[in-house]
Each structure stands twice: as C-alpha cells, then as structure tokens.
Symmetry: C2
Subunit: 118 residues, 2 copies
C-alpha cells in the first residue's frame, strides 16, 4: 500500500494491533525501545520499525535523552483522523436521513395509490 498523504499514513499506522498496543502502553508513560520490548514478544528492531511508522504518522514524538530516545504520545496526531471521521459521520447520517425520507415518501405514495381500490 502506497500511503503518501498524512491521513492515509495515520490510518495505516493504526491498522496494526502491535502499533495500537504500543500507543496504549505509551498512554501509561513515555517509554524507549528497550522498555517497550520488555514484556513483549517483539525484538527491539521490530519495535524500532513500528515506532518509525508511528512517528511518520505524527502519533508519537521521540525525544533525545542521552542514549535513550523515549517515545511520547502526540494527541494532535489523531486530529486528521478525527476530522475525517466527524465529516464522514455527518455525511453518512445525512445520507441515511435522505434514504429514510425517500422510503417514507414511497410508502406514502403507495398508500395514496391504494385509495382508489379501497
């Protein structure tokens, strides 16, 4: 999958249970690769790879603290995803409303058509 736009990068970063687990772990506190690898079945290089994906998506930032590079959640990184979903919800609900209106109008006209036979 070629995900060049920011929104696609964010969705793609979230489309992996391991990366979501890393984000959930970071909600408990900043952590570096070594800490994230502990208590995980993943190797440090695998964790590093996932962190890069999360960083490119703007979902984490990595500080420089001597040798350590602890990862920190970036709440702002969810903004494009939130915006898209909010818009989708508004548009989709509107679509459902119109469908319901259309079906109600059809039912109404069907009732009127039946009147001559009543």
């Amino acid at each position: 999958m070629v995900a060049t736009d920011q929104l696609s990068r964010s969705f793609a970063a979230l489309a992996d249970p391991t990366r979501r687990a890393i984000l959930e772990r970071l909600a408990a506190g900043d952590a570096g690769v070594v800490e994230l690898a502990m208590g995980s079945a993943l190797t440090q290089p695998a964790i590093t790879k996932h962190l890069k994906v999360l960083e490119r998506a703007g979902l984490i930032a990595r500080a420089r603290d001597g040798q350590r590079r602890p990862a920190r959640l970036q709440l702002d990184g969810l903004a494009p995803v939130d915006d898209w979903l909010r818009r989708a919800h508004a548009e989709w609900s509107h679509r459902l409303d119109r469908l319901e209106f259309h079906l109600a109008a059809q039912a109404e006209s069907a009732t009127h058509e039946e009147i001559p036979n009543a």
Copy 2:
C-alpha cells in the same frame, strides 16, 4: 500488512485515498462498479478490488439487484474505529493531565526549594 482483526481491517480500509473517495461518493447515493468507475481514473476491476476491501471491513454492503450489485454505506462499520479513538482520546488526555500535574508539582517543589535562599 497482515490485518486479521476487524479493527485493523477497518483502519487499513480507510488508509487509502481512493477508498475514502469511494465512501464519500457513496454518501451521495448507492452506486455500482460501473457508476463508480465513471468519472474515475480507475478501471472496473480496480474498483471491484477496493469494494471488496471496504466490504470485508464492514464499511459497505453490496445488494443484489439483478446484474447490478450497488454498494451502500454501512454507518455501523465505523463503530469499532470510533470506539477505539474515543478510548484513545480519554486515555491520552488522562496521560497529558498527569504529565501536567507532575510538571506543576515539580515547579511547585522547585519554588519551595528556592524559599530558603529568598
């Protein structure tokens, strides 16, 4: 990317600008492959492939209407994504609150330490 869980499938389905454009088009009304291919740079087989991804993610349903199989938005399909994001927001905000509290406490204790020198 191996996306076996429903949530990963949903995020992965949304991680593509073409698939998001298809969803936005469907918000204006149900449409089949032929209609979706019109006014698009994509071939019908490419559209069919994208629709399969969206269908597996539960974001659309495809009716049977003779030869046509119009695609329809499934608002419920966004529920797992919404739930995850709502939870992430709550946890991440909580994390930020605690960080701020921690920093405020540090600043407070730094001020107290300065008092003897005042």
